[in-house]
Structures are given as C-alpha cells and as structure tokens.
Amino acid sequence: MTEHATPVADTDGFPEHMEIATANPGRAITVIAVSFLLSIAATFVLGWIYTQGGNPAIEGMMLAVVFGGIGFGMAAWGKWLMPKGPFVEEREVLTTEENQEKFAKTFTRGQVAIEGRRSVLLKLLLAAMGTMTAILLFPIRSLTGKNPDKVLYQYGSGWKAGSQLVTDEGKPVHSDDLEVGGVLTVFPPDSGDMAMDQTLLIRAAAAPLPFNPSATPGGYVAYSKVCTHAGCPVGQYQAQFGKLLCPCHGSTFDVLHGADVVFGPAPRPLALLPLMVDDNGYLRAQRGYDEPLGPGFWSRGGVR
C-alpha cells in the first residue's frame, strides 16, 4: 500500500521517527504557553468570583478555561512537539497449546483430591453452596415487608360507602361548587394513601349523565385519577369534547361514557366512583371502588 522507501539514517544520526511533528516549533510553544497561562489566570478569576459569592455562569466558563487551557496545551504538546512516529509493536501471542497443556497438568494436581468416593464431597459442597443462595431471599423479604399482591388488591381502599369527597386541604365538596366543565381532585377524609385514593371529580353536564344516571347526580362524575397505563395522574380535562387526557403517554378517556379508552396505550377505563348528594348538598361516594386501581400487575387477574 504505502510504497515509500524507508527513510533510514538521518544526515546527523538522529532517528527521524523521533523528530517532532510540527514544522514550526516556535509558534507551537507560544500557543501552548499561552494556553497554560490562560488556565492559570482563569483559576484566579474563579477564586475571586467564588469569594464574591459565586455566579454559576462565570464559574462554569472559568472552570472551562482552567481545564480547557491545560487540556488544549497538553493535547497540542502531544500532537506537535512529540516524536512523530509512527511506531509499531508486535502483539503478544495470547496463548499456545503448550501453555494450555501445562495448565491442564497443574490443574490435575487438584483433581486428584476429588477422585473416587471423595467426589461425593464435591457434589455436596456444590449443593450446599446452591442452597446457600436461598438466604438471599431473607433480606429481600425483609425489604419488601408484606406480600405485595395482597396489598395491591386493596388499592384505593380509602374510599368507603358514604365517604365524603374532600379537597387536598380537607374541605368537603358541595354540589354547587363546580360549574359545568369544572374539575377538582378529591380524596376521602383523612386519606392515608393520597397517591392511590386521588380521584378526579368532573362536572361534565348540568344533569345526570345518560351512561349511568344513578352514579352521576347533577352531572357530577368521579373517576380514579390513577391512569390504568402506568399510573400517572390523569388530569387534563377537555370540556368541549368531554375527553380526559393523561399527560404521560397521551391516553384519552371518554368522560361521558364511563371513561372508555378512545386513544393511547391505556388498556382499561378509569374506575368509576359512584356518587350521591347527601341531605346537606355535599357529595359523597355511594360505595368504594370495586376493583384494584391503576396499572395492572400479574396477580390482578379478573378484569371488569
């Protein structure tokens, strides 16, 4: 490929490979020196800024000059002022058959120890070590606490029959509170698990909704706010379309039809919390949710 003659002895006996790469060392030295000097100067500026209380932008830029000055100088030094090469080295041979044979012999030294009846010992040792790994399960169990599958089934259990709907500040929600098109995040009183109990109250119309009039008094409808896809809070209500949007992956639920999924990856409708209005006009749950809320899990099994 490269068919140049090999340049051998230099006229003055200095190996040509060891010569520096640049044709203009004077300029190279100047540039590199300036680079190092800039770095030193920047360190002082950085120190001054720091003692003055700091400023992220200037600190970042000064750090960049401190490191960049050193970095550029070193790289340029290596590129311009060091032996230009190229050099070649032979790869070591990784192994030989002889090596492998010798190794096998050495290893056999130990194999003798597990011959005959003693081989049973080896098997027992391996068995013991295998069963030993089971102790890893103890810390796992300690970390986990309860059997998750049982707990998961009770998700959203803060809601009971007759639970009042309250805001995150604990204020009960009255049936006059929302205009048509209004939304509010509600919880049962003293919710112990706001992440799972969170429920979105929507006033979708002025009168009960046709799809389930008995659960939607006065056009109020309440769905679990935990997305059935990956659990994000479903919170963007588009009143003019009656659609509810999950911000995470765009799942869209039809508020007027039991939160059926119209689009997106969510596999199931949001769970419905049937509502009623008590004698004082406050909103309450007729009963709790009748299914595990949120995303699916292995032992969830039954689907509504």
């Binding site: 490929m1 490269t2 090999t6 002895a9 230099d10 006996g13 190996p15 490979h17 060891m18 010569e19 640049t22 060392p25 300029r27 100047t30 020196a33 700091g54 932008a57 970042g60 830029m61 750090l63 960049a64 401190v66 490191f67 970095g71 550029f72 070193m74 790289a75 030094w77 290596g78 060091m82 032996p83 090469g85 050099f87 080295e89 032979e90 790869r91 070591e92 990784l94 986990t144 309860k146 998750p148 998961l152 995150d168 995040t185 698990d193 992440a195 990956a230 659990g231 994000c232 809070p233 995470c248 765009g250 990856p265 596999p267 199931r268 699916g296 899990f297 969830r300 099994g301 689907v303």
Partner: protein, 575 residues
C-alpha cells in the same frame, strides 16, 4: 536563541534537578521490580484514529461524575420526610416538599458553586452515556467485536445498561415533579413483570408507590452499588484491552500481528491527558451556560399533580417512546394478567439487548468466520452489517422521537393520533428502508478503489464497446505525503538523558541499553513493516531537550530535508 549549545545547557541543568527523582525511581524498582512492566506500558501503542477517543470520553466523564458526585453527596439529604420550605428561594416559600427536594434547592442556591457542580454532574451523565453509545457504534460498524473481543463487547453492553440505570436513579433523587412522574412510570413498568414484578418494586420502594424508604435506597444504589459495579467492569474492560491490544485499521504497515501508532509515552500520555481536561472543560462550559434540570421551576413532586410535556433525559426517552406507541393491549390469563407496559417497557428493550449481546456470535455463525481479527473493517466493506446497524439505529431514533410525540403534535399542529399512527408505521418501515439503502450504498462505495481516502477525482472512462468504468486520476503533487514506515517502538529509545538514568554507574549493569544500540536493526520480519536499519551508531550529539523528541527540530519535508544540520539546528524561530 535555541541554538544547539544552549539546548545542551538546558538539558544539563534539568539533569541536575532530576537526579533526585531518578534515584527514587531506582529505589522503587529495586524493591518492586517495576522497570520492565512500566516500560512495557510506556511502549504500549495506541493506534492513531479519532474514533478510538470515544471510549476515552466515556471514561473521562465517569471520572467527572465521581468527582462532582462526591461534592453533591456532601450536601444532599436522602430523605422522603415532608417539611414546609422556609428557605431563600422565595417562590417556593411555604410549599410542602421532601427534604430531598429541599436539599437540592439548597445545593442550587445556597451552596457556593453548588449549582455549577449539579449541572456538571447532570451534563457529565448525559455525555457519559452518549459517549458509550457512540463508542458502541464504532465498535459495531468496524467489526471490533469479533473474536477475540466478544467478552469486551459483552462487558461494554453491561456497562451501558448500568450507566443508564444509574442515570435514571440520579435523575430521580431530587424528588421534583418531573422525576417523580418518571419514577411513577418506572414503578408501573417494573410492576408489570409477570410473577416477580410486584415483589421487585416493593423491594426497591419499600411498599406501594411512593414507598417509605425510596430515597435512602436510591441513594445507596446511585452512589455505591451501581458506581462500584461500573468501576469494576470498567477496570476489567481496560485490562482486557491492554492484554489484547487495540484493534487498528489496515494500512501504514498495520498487520494482524502488530499495532501501529503512538506509544503511551510520551505522545499519547500528553494527548490523552489533554483530552481528559478538555472533556472536563466542555462539561464545565455546558454547566455554566446551558441550564439543565431546573428543578425549582418544576416544583416538588406530589403524586396527584399533573405535569405537561414531561421529557426524560435522552437515554430514557426511547423507552418513553415505546410506551407511547404501544397499542392498548393487555394479556389476560386465568387469574392473572400481563399488563400493557410489560411489552414496550420490559420485553422490547430486553429483546434488543439480547440481540446485541448475541450479535458477535450470530454474525460469526452466519459468516462462518471463526478466526481472530485485529484489523478492523471499514463499514462499507461489510454492507450487511452496516445495513443491520443502520436499521437498528433508525428504530432507536424513531422511538426517541416518539418520546416527544406530544411536542411534535403541538409543533406541527397535527392531532396526536395522527402523529402516533405515522410513527407506528415508520417504526417498522423506516428501519427496513434505511437498512437497504445503507446496504446498497456500502456496496457501491466499496467498488470504488480507494474511494473516500484522499480527495482525488475519479475519471469515468468509456471503453470502445460502450462500457463505463472509473479510474482514479493522478494524485496532485502537493497531495503526496512523505510517510514514514512505522519504526519498532522498543528500538526507538534515545540515549538516556543524564538525569533520567536510573543507574548512575555505581556497580551493576546499566538498566537501560547503552546508547550505541539506538536505532539498530529491527528483526521484525513482519510483512509490510520495513525496519529501520543503521549500522553506524549515531554520532554523539548534544542533547537537545528534556524529553526524547523535544529537540525542537524542524520537520523536514521531502525536498528540503537534505538541509541536514542546517534544518536540524534551525529551531531558531525563537519565540
């Protein structure tokens, strides 16, 4: 001013100063026997190609992560305990938040240089994983993963996984609204794994989301468990590289049995050290001018607060995209279910990584090529591999784009539905098209002799019977390079400088070769490598610098090189 005599003087002065260091080195060597091994290291050859720097950038950003991470850990509080904020950032006064979030706000506003450190840490994480990714592409497209390097390919992939995981945990530590939402999604995705999923998330979170012990556990994982694993595997990665030596591109005397390039000492050490600092500089500059993760704007995480336009860091974005493109299927078995998120969130990345892990073995099975390789392929010479790789990258990029489908829909003023459907189709069509085009392009390119190597016109010639073919034109005289053939590195030593000599002549044989052997013949006998032969030992000449090659000599070009001493001593450009 830099005449020969002057240089000699300088060398002598330096020699006096260096005597101390030399005798210490001798003491060490006599006790530890280092000279041989360290000399091997100093002679270790790094091939000269820019693409070999990608892995180094990854290494350097990891070092930056450790340094900045230790700084952050001095101020970060790993607690999910809720408090009311009364600190110095006025917009958040009176807001309920966790101590983790509060401490991150404090790092940003009250700890001096805290914000710069936080932003450097975050930028370094992004650069770290990005560099790993590009480095992986280099290894893939040039076939550097082939035997004997399959083990390092495997280790590299594992490093990638660990880095992504650690990035995600770090991103989640500040407990802001964005990262909390990300954690909620991650929780659901892992919960979706059949049989063990619910146990895994309980194990990590210490209970149902958001869990009781999350921040303590995440911090231990983020700054101890995963970094240690990364450190260990990284070390193995590098040790294996040193043992096997780098691969190299063909040409310039490179063969399967040698390595051509720059030795560690001094050229590579200087350059590489420089690149380390430059990586640091770029990270610091980004941290200074490019705000990243301004968590005080997002507010603290609250499980029922809604975010809009949540965009994760890029290395998670493709998984977000695959969650978004998945149709709303869910698998129901008697008494059990496999939730929707399992397929795009666990199964798909699992499949991709398994294919990647198996790739070296798949390829060698398909091509029947079981021989070891030290010379790299140019991507165009392996059209099928290049096509497959380009297809995989396209697949990845479409998922990444899909991670921002809501932004695209707003930007293009198109319904989200349409965007999702277009992307769903593209996800399967585009990789095939890109793969085929790449395949065809590579085949065309590899037909052109020396194509792309040097800028030289190819002349299309029409033969008498009407066929066409291309002939490269004559090289322009100015383009001709005066290329040296590589010299064996072990023989390239210079006479030992006075100061650097480890044996000051007090008994015992000299540890270093006498100067007479400089440049003596290299009995390489390797095809393609000419050897530097010189029968006359070099004339004793004054030392010209502190280190080999520092003689500040002009680099002779062909033609004026015969200037001999004139050119050699003529570093007189001064400064």
């Amino acid at each position: 001013m830099t005449d020969v005599a002057n240089d000699g003087m300088r060398a002598k002065t330096a020699a006096v100063a260096k005597k101390g260091a030399a005798s210490q080195a001798r003491h060490l060597d006599e006790r530890l026997g280092l000279a041989g091994g360290v000399r091997w290291l100093l002679n270790y050859i790094f091939p000269d190609h820019w693409s070999f720097m990608l892995g180094e950038i990854a290494l350097y950003s990891f070092i930056i992560l450790i340094i900045t991470g230790v700084y952050l850990s001095l101020f970060f509080v790993d607690s999910g305990k809720e408090i009311i904020y009364h600190g110095s950032y006025l917009p958040l006064r009176g807001v309920k938040m966790t101590e983790a979030y509060q401490s991150t706000i404090d790092i940003s506003f009250n700890v001096r240089a805290g914000l710069v450190m936080r932003q450097m840490h975050h930028w370094a994480a992004i650069i770290f994983i990005g560099a790993i990714g590009i480095h992986m592409c280099r290894v893939f497209f040039t076939g550097a993963f082939r035997r004997p390097r399959e083990i390092n390919w495997t280790i590299g992939l594992t490093l990638m996984l660990l880095a992504v995981a650690n990035g995600f945990f770090g991103y989640s530590l500040p407990d802001d609204l964005l990262s909390g939402t990300g954690l909620r999604i991650a929780y659901s995705v892992f919960e979706s794994i059949p049989i063990i999923g619910t146990w895994i998330v309980y194990w990590l979170f210490g209970g149902a989301f958001p869990g009781d012990n999350l921040f303590e556990r995440m911090l231990v994982i983020h700054m101890f468990v995963l970094p240690l694993l990364i450190l260990g595997l990284l070390t193995a990665h590098l040790v294996i590289i040193m043992r096997q030596h780098h691969t190299q591109f063909p040409g310039k005397g490179a063969t399967e049995t040698n390595v051509v390039g720059t030795p560690m000492w001094p050229g590579y050490a200087a350059k590489s050290g420089g690149y380390f600092f430059m990586t640091f500089a770029v990270t610091a500059a980004l941290a200074g001018v490019a705000q990243i993760n301004p968590i005080w704007l997002y507010g603290p995480y609250d499980p029922y607060k809604v975010t809009t336009f949540a965009q994760p860091d890029w290395y998670i974005g493709w998984l977000e995209g695959s969650l978004r493109l998945m149709p709303n299927w869910e698998t129901h078995l008697p008494g059990h279910m496999i939730p929707n998120a399992f397929f795009p969130g666990i199964l798909l990345p699992g499949l991709i990584f398994n294919v990647l892990y198996a790739y070296p073995f798949i390829e060698s099975y398909l091509t029947g090529d079981k021989t070891p390789h030290n010379l790299l392929d140019r991507p165009r010479d392996r059209p099928a591999r290049a096509g497959f790789g380009a297809g995989m990258l396209t697949f990845f990029f479409i998922l990444l784009i899909a991670g921002s489908d809501d932004l695209i829909s707003v930007f293009l003023d198109t319904p989200l539905q349409l965007v999702v459907w277009v992307l769903r189709v593209l996800l399967f069509v585009a990789p095939v098209i890109v793969g085929l085009v790449t395949y065809e392009m590579c085949r065309e390119l590899s037909k052109v002799p020396d194509g792309g190597k040097r800028k030289r016109a190819n002349i299309i010639v029409r033969t008498a019977d009407g066929a066409y073919h291309s002939v490269p034109s004559e090289p322009h005289p100015a383009d001709e390079h005066h290329e040296l053939l590589p010299a064996p590195v072990g023989e390239a030593d210079l006479p030992v400088l006075v100061g650097a000599a480890m044996t000051p002549g007090r008994g015992g044989p000299p540890l270093t070769a006498p100067s007479g052997t400089v440049g003596s013949t290299a009995p390489s006998g390797i095809p393609g490598v000419s050897t530097v032969t010189r029968d006359t030992p070099p004339a004793p000449r004054p030392q010209r610098g502190l280190l080999p090659g520092f003689g500040l000599r002009r680099n002779r070009r062909p033609g004026n090189g015969s200037g001999g001493n004139g050119a050699g001593g003529g570093g007189g450009t001064g400064s």
